[in-house]
Amino acid sequence: MHLHVASAYSLRYGAARPEALARRAAELGLETLALTDRDGLYGAVRHVRACRDAGVRPVLGADLALGPGPGGGEERAVVLAAGRAGWASLCRLVTAAHAGERGRPVASRELVGEHADGLVVLLGPWSDVGRAVAARRPDLAARRLAAWRATAECALEIVDHHDVGDGHRAARMLALARSEGVPAVLGNAVRYLEPADHPVAQVLDVTRRLVPLHRRHLDDRTGHAYLKSEERMRRTAALSCGAEEADALVAATRALAERCVLDPGRDLGMDEVHLPETGADPYGRLAARCAEGLAARGLDRSAEAARRLDHELGIIARKGLAAYFLTVADAAGLIRSRGIRCAIRGSGAGSLVNHLLGISDLDPLRHDLVMERFLADSRPGLPDIDLDVESARRLEAYRALFDRYGADATACVSMMETYRARSAIRDVGNAVGLPPQEIDAIAKAFPHIRARQIRAALADLPELRQSNLGQGQLEVVFRIAERLDGLPRHIAMHPCGVLLSNATLRDRTPVEQSALGFPMSQFDKDDVEAMGLLKLDVIGVRMQSAMAHAVAEVERAGGGRIDLEAVPRDDPSTFGLIRTSRTLGCFQIESPGQRELIGRLQPRDLDDLVIDISLFRPGPVASDMVTPYLDSREGLRAPAYPHPDLEPVLRESLGVIVFHEQVLRVIDVFTGCGLSDAEAARRSLASEEGQAVVGAWFREHALRRGYDEASVERVWRMLTAFGSFGFCKAHAASFALPTYQSAWLKRHHPAAFFAGVLTHDPGMYPKRAILDDARHYGVPILPLDVNRSTADWHVEPVSQGGAVAGPANAGPSGDAGGGGAPSGAAALAHGIRVALNEVKGISEAEVGRIVEERPYRSLTDFWRRARVSRPIVERLVLAGGFDALYDAVSASPSGSSSPPPPTGRAEATR
């Protein structure tokens, strides 16, 4: 029956999570529960799901700011959605309220009027009507009420928090409703679960206003904004309005709540998926495009491919996802057509359809990847395809998607930052008025932990135990800070999710501006999935940018256009380089631990890289699965299979379970359940209860198929041990491809490769280590030069290096390293030039002017024309940017071989 409830998704206002509210409502025996968060629908989907779990029927609305009223003080009104039309109106109204200045949502009566279809407006004490009633101006209140009634369907909301005068105001509000013939309902403007939570709400009140705790700053002075039972609501109303009216009000409230109950399927559209328009017969077109793909990929004669395609298309047809695949293929094609590198990651690489549509460059048949890990009859919801794009051009990819599908049918996904220990201590400390320096010191004394662990950390961590922080007034700070644990703090754009839908998207999700100016849904990634919206993860990967830069540099330097995707994937010299484990800068295999593993594993082909990437995970390393595998691989011992029947499944990893895909197959072999059910069983392994259920099922079926008890037990132990840290082979394979590609570039175009790595900084090493590695591979590092350096690192033929005798410091070190160092003229022909961006503090505009006004004849010439700020010029001088101009002075052409320029540069540059 509660119609006015704020959850913690009313940022810095509500103190209870939607799940807790729904559970409490069920305990109190309430049949309906509304969620009307302030200025947003951030918690709406969670509320609907929580209500379903708790057996309560959901109502949705929003408590909208209407701007300051004539007497000052912000006015607010609650809008409730009735039916499907109401939900669409509500989404669009919230979006419209956010259309102005970012972070300052404000609606108005006129705006509500524009979206009045299916909305019910509740006018409570915070509305202009309520203000007039409080001011004892019944005439004004009646006029304002009339204006609202001309705008939308209205009801007056009677709220009594037992503050001074609340009771009388409630009675006058009711009198107004009766005299004007407007329905009146009860509300409690709920902010938390129970009376004891009020200090949290009070801290949030002052935190929102950035003031210290004082009675006059509080919205909540009585501790009565909690979720009350119907009986308590009735008693409160009886006190101010009389027992008879109280019964009438409760009945009216229940009736309105009933009317506004939303059905998740019918009204919110949660029971179907809302894909972009793809035209008629998506399945037919998908099948046709797959057939084309078969021919294009040279698979049209493979019976295996045909069988696999049939199988996958069957699943897609049964799940009605043809339009989904067409859309993702379209999006990936669109990104690639802009010349942005784009690779698939994750389980999607296991699907032949993805390969044939050009979404994935990996052939799942060649790498023996199964589809079921990605899409199976047993997997609910939409499958998940993630695309890796160049990090530097990620937003460009976003814009391309927005242009293609239309701003109305596209939005980014949001995410909520939540309170953790430090942020909670800071906010509570400020509220109680501790000095800022003290707050800072206390907050920083805590590691990055959850807020609810604050007091446990005080007891457990020795450095905190000695600090005497757990004393006196701080005890209160910590206690309240703990109760902020996990509450949303502010909204941010999800780093990669993009919603692609059709013109009805704005009827299904409220949208606000992100900090970058993109339209952003108020729903997070779980919410949009529940709403049946297609979320494409477009992830910015620096290595893709580094490789794109390298390819562009090769072309610019006259080396022709490289198509990385078309490069043969079995180049022996590339694997030769990988085996030397000098893999700095290569994707995924550059960390010290990986290099050690690479050294022992000695990969010979792409499949070895897949295994290598999968083995280098905390789980397999910790449980020492690595050693038996390596021993078998080196022939020190024969591979041990838990059962002979499993040999075909585990042969690729020599008896060890490495991949999720192998889990599916092991379950399938022992139970004969098929891969789809095996995938369902694998997902259940994640939880303790799931393991018990699956365990019984597995034993029963395996024994019935005639396996002896000992083997069944052995295999089951293996499965459960693996359950915690398996790796998806398709994911590893989609990572292995950029790994190989980066190694290939390093082997064949080292200068361009290092230019890319230094420009986009994709890895874990400082640039000094990368530069060392470049020297090792015989790539001369050409010093900063105002006449030659560009914004980014670039490749330069060293013969044109002019004053700097590049080859002099390149030759000897090239031979000093291991056998992987490329030798020959190709490697010596190019050096890399230090980028202007490396100069500490230089601005984009300055870089632009320096490049624009070239060439310079002298420092004075540069000073006059490039107009670069004085400290930057000084740094340019110190870093040697003018050395080439004054070469005659420094005289020796071998100057570059004495302290190598980049080392000297290190102090002046970043």
Partner: protein, 91 residues
Amino acid sequence: MTRVFGDPVEVWSSDGRPVRFVWRGRLYTVRRVLEHWVTTRDWWREQQPEAEVTGEREFWRVEATPDREIGVYELRYDAATATWMLSRVWD
């Protein structure tokens, strides 16, 4: 005129509302509740707050009478200590 007291009183309630109270040895019968309000405590100003910051102060302004003469009395209930007090009197 208003007089301010802080005398402990004994109060009988029914259905959550005070109906009778004893002040300075005389029994008062509540005729009518004029106003009722509550406030939370200023927990952030207390030096040694109790383990859980709960408890509110509940105020009842009532018309009550010891015999025939009617006066207005303000009763205060402190939830933390579970005590009643007569805080103000208008007569």
